[in-house]
Symmetry: C2
Subunit: 192 residues, 2 copies
Amino acid sequence: MTDLFIIYLRKNASLTDSEIDRIISLSAAKTLRRNELLLQEGQICRHKGFILKGLLYTSGSAAGDTEHILQFSSEQSWILDAESYDQQLPSRFNIAAVEKTELLVWGRNDFETLRAEIPGLTTFAQQLISRNIYSSRQRILAALSGTPEEKYAAFVRNNPELLSRLPLRMIASYLGISLKTLTRIRHAQTQR
Amino acid sequence: MTDLFIIYLRKNASLTDSEIDRIISLSAAKTLRRNELLLQEGQICRHKGFILKGLLYTSGSAAGDTEHILQFSSEQSWILDAESYDQQLPSRFNIAAVEKTELLVWGRNDFETLRAEIPGLTTFAQQLISRNIYSSRQRILAALSGTPEEKYAAFVRNNPELLSRLPLRMIASYLGISLKTLTRIRHAQTQR
DNA sequence: AGAAAATATGGTCAAATGACCACATATCGT
DNA sequence: ACGATATGTGGTCATTTGACCATATTTTCT
């Protein structure tokens, strides 16, 4: 199963095989069942995770408001609450499994050890952060732009592989529209 | 005028006075007039800026949709398009001045030189990134949550000092609501 | 100071949305 | 495989929103 991680690193980072081995040697396997929490609001995020297989969502709520899904994270991606992890502060978010999910996780100290040993890992982590910032901006734009119908169309366009794995209510929560509106949109589309 | 920058660094970073001098020695002053662009969509972001005085906005648009304001940046904060700056790719955003604005700017090479010389600067930059990620998430939640009225109330609560400096249409653009809706909300509030 | 431009307000109307509810269907866990 | 639970669909209705337009007001620039 860690093969998937090796393949990912070979493809995306500039690391030697022994460096990759070393990284894996400090990891632990973790499995989440459907709906199980990886991180709960109020807890401190003590691990960085890499998703081998499965699908997670990150959710949170603005003061007083209902909960919304901020992000979906599927295989071949990292998952953590950066703010809580970096500063060891209680998280304001929940991270939970949409479906059965298998992860590799690293404790913060171990990962820092690895970063100190392996310069290429730091470089790689930087790139990930840069991408993260960019995708957050896209997400903000998507949330502000367009009608519910356009938002849904954009979601389908950008995440075709997630469609069948997610309940509609989660998609509605992610897009910031009501489930009612979402089913209306879909109904209108199948009519055509 | 650079005093403001010195004060900021003393307060927020762990740097010696000579390190601060060194950082300033590689900076250049820049002034933007109202509405003037600091960065235009399609251009590559070649500088990192620090705002001494004034107010900027960052705007962009999702495919086909109208432009929205992603962020306001006022004195004592950094401004750049991280994606474009890091990877030297054309920016997808505009950054422009709401009002006359004075900045310090550093070319990318110079800043990297500074980072290599001054470890404390790297640490500090990391913290800024971490905060950036967090505020992006808050922004996403705010965009998804609540009615226009609640969004406006949250904006007023979180940015009281910006209210009088921004035209309403920019606030509307930032919140993702129409100008009409915004004036309606304000009208209703003054009635009470 | 004065002309020109930008900004804010307000009216009307059609359309879209969300809240609430009931019911059908699919999915999950044992 | 089965019962229980979660999920999706659909109806109705009141409310809100945005589009379009005209006009009043403020601000900017020279």
